[in-house]
């Protein structure tokens, strides 16, 4: 893997890479417990 090949891949697949980046971002945002919208914390009547 060289910088040239990386540059080529990013230039060629940047829409897919951006989508993967967004998916990773959401995964990291929602990875914290109880941070997901509507996610239950496990407590009763929460």
């Amino acid at each position: 893997m060289t910088w040239g090949s990386v540059t080529y891949l990013v230039g060629f697949y940047w829409p897919y890479l951006s989508a993967v980046l967004v998916i990773g971002f959401l995964t990291g945002w929602l990875s914290r417990p109880g941070s997901a919208p509507g996610q239950r914390t496990g407590k009763p009547y929460d």
Binding site: Y13, Y16, L21, G24, L26, T27, L30, G34, S35, Q39
Partner: protein, 220 residues
């Protein structure tokens, strides 16, 4: 198989992109929580002593603020209140005492039974008929002239009881009876309840006769 390194590089690039996105998302989440100082959902909220105390919001403007504030006067309204005439209902209420005084109910005459009871319990004279109308009462004397009263029992029809009654009316002498006119005799007749007895027995003539006798006696 020249495409194998290319696929590996692509997969690694996607994996790195995904991991970078996860790290950025987690950091962004932490940053957002730190910015708003809000705990995550489900986390207990730390209560400070101030937050534990009940918050009392005064509904009264402090005196300093009230003094500093300018009075709000609507521009359309006059600064001083205009005296408006009282509505008719208020006048009616104000005049109500007078109207009450005017419309005060007249005393209801007592029932006949109560009148009869009052008369029965009343320690009255033996006969107390209604006094005749008009002023016919004889001129009374407080006491007999010279301290000596005439013997009114010399008139026929006058006994000791009637004599005491006449004395109570201020009649002590014959000349008083002789001076009676019809109205006076009628008044006394009605007062004593004689039903015309004075006229029938002619007290006035008898009194004049007694006066004449006394005059002749004194002249002799």
């Amino acid at each position: 198989m020249t495409s194998a390194p290319f696929i590996i590089e692509t997969a690694l690039l996607l994996l790195v992109t995904y991991v970078v996105g996860c790290v950025i998302g987690d950091l962004a989440r932490r940053w957002s929580l730190a910015e708003w100082k809000l705990p995550a959902i489900g986390q207990p909220i730390p209560l400070t002593p101030q937050a534990q105390m009940p918050v009392v919001v005064p509904d009264v403007v402090p005196a300093e603020m009230a003094a500093a504030a300018d009075p709000i006067v609507p521009p359309d309204l006059p600064p001083e209140p205009v005296e408006m005439p009282a509505p008719p209902i208020v006048e009616t209420l104000v005049q109500s005492p007078e109207s009450v005084a005017v419309t005060e109910p007249t005393p209801v005459p007592p029932r006949r039974k109560s009148v009869a009871r009052a008369k029965a319990t009343e320690p009255s004279a033996p006969e107390q008929p209604a006094e005749p109308e008009g002023d016919g009462r004889p001129q009374p004397l407080d006491s007999p002239r010279g301290g000596v009263k005439d013997n009114l029992k010399q008139i026929k029809g006058i006994g000791p009881k009637i004599e005491s009654t006449l004395n109570a009316l201020g009649v002590f002498h014959f000349d008083q009876i002789a001076a009676w006119d019809e109205s006076t005799s009628a008044w006394v007749d009605g007062h004593l309840g004689f039903k015309g007895r004075i006229a029938r027995e002619d007290w006035i003539a008898q009194a004049k006769a007694r006066l004449a006798e006394n005059a002749t006696k004194e002249s002799v």
